[in-house]
Symmetry: C2
Subunit: 139 residues, 2 copies
Amino acid sequence: MVSPDQPWPPGHQELAEILRRDIHAGRLAPGAPIPSDRWLEETYGIGRNTVRAAVTLLRAEGLVVRRHGQATRVRQMPVKQPIDLAGVTRIEVRMPSPDDRDRLRVPDLGVPVFEVHRRPGVVELLPGDRWFVPAPGAS
Amino acid sequence: MVSPDQPWPPGHQELAEILRRDIHAGRLAPGAPIPSDRWLEETYGIGRNTVRAAVTLLRAEGLVVRRHGQATRVRQMPVKQPIDLAGVTRIEVRMPSPDDRDRLRVPDLGVPVFEVHRRPGVVELLPGDRWFVPAPGAS
DNA sequence: GATAATTTGTACGTATGTATA
DNA sequence: TTATACATACGTACAAATTAT
């Protein structure tokens, strides 16, 4: 964790950038807990709401996962599987609705979904953190 | 806009669901402004922070776009173009970092990006709201 | 062009509830 | 049971960008 070097307290955008750097640099590894709201408050001398606004940004970017009552953690990327391209007419991508997330068992924000359009008019929804589009020839 | 029928004021999750329904039902059309924070506060009898939490959810879901000083609007989807599959080894999807958004000129949250892996080791980034993966054979 | 009103952005403090360790 | 950590929600204040007058 990077200690505050600057004399003024960070805003929520700045705090988000600090945590982003720590994650990308590996100082906060996948699966590792990030500091608690309270620790960040006291360490950086900022309000709780500011801390939460920062972490909310990181959630939307898919960098961290929050669980009620547990420490917020850096997202762990599962191994991705190739999408079966048989009969595919097109694949789009979008953010899921809460209903979509329930269906797909993806409780977290920040995970886009593939919208796989197949033959008869069937649309399959696949979480973007578990699937990828393979090379067109290699099916 | 749906008026509050229930006697108790909605929480931010409930308000988000109300707005979500209005958007999906077309009562709030793409490009149309949604009610201001202040209007939502007074109409539903809730605090500003609660209103903003609701709209923040919709932002992360890619449903609305906020611009400083302007009304928040329902996102308008541009026409999507097919990704050129020549030399593609795989295509993944993820949320962009703020830097990615700057590069791609995608100022808004809630827009995933395609990570197109091509031959030599080249990775191309394409906004998910402007591109789609076409049928493998139809290139 | 200048001013005022509107709207979103940012940030503080406080309080209480709920899930987990 | 206790402590920790996140979830939700209120109120307040001021800044900044845009729009209307």
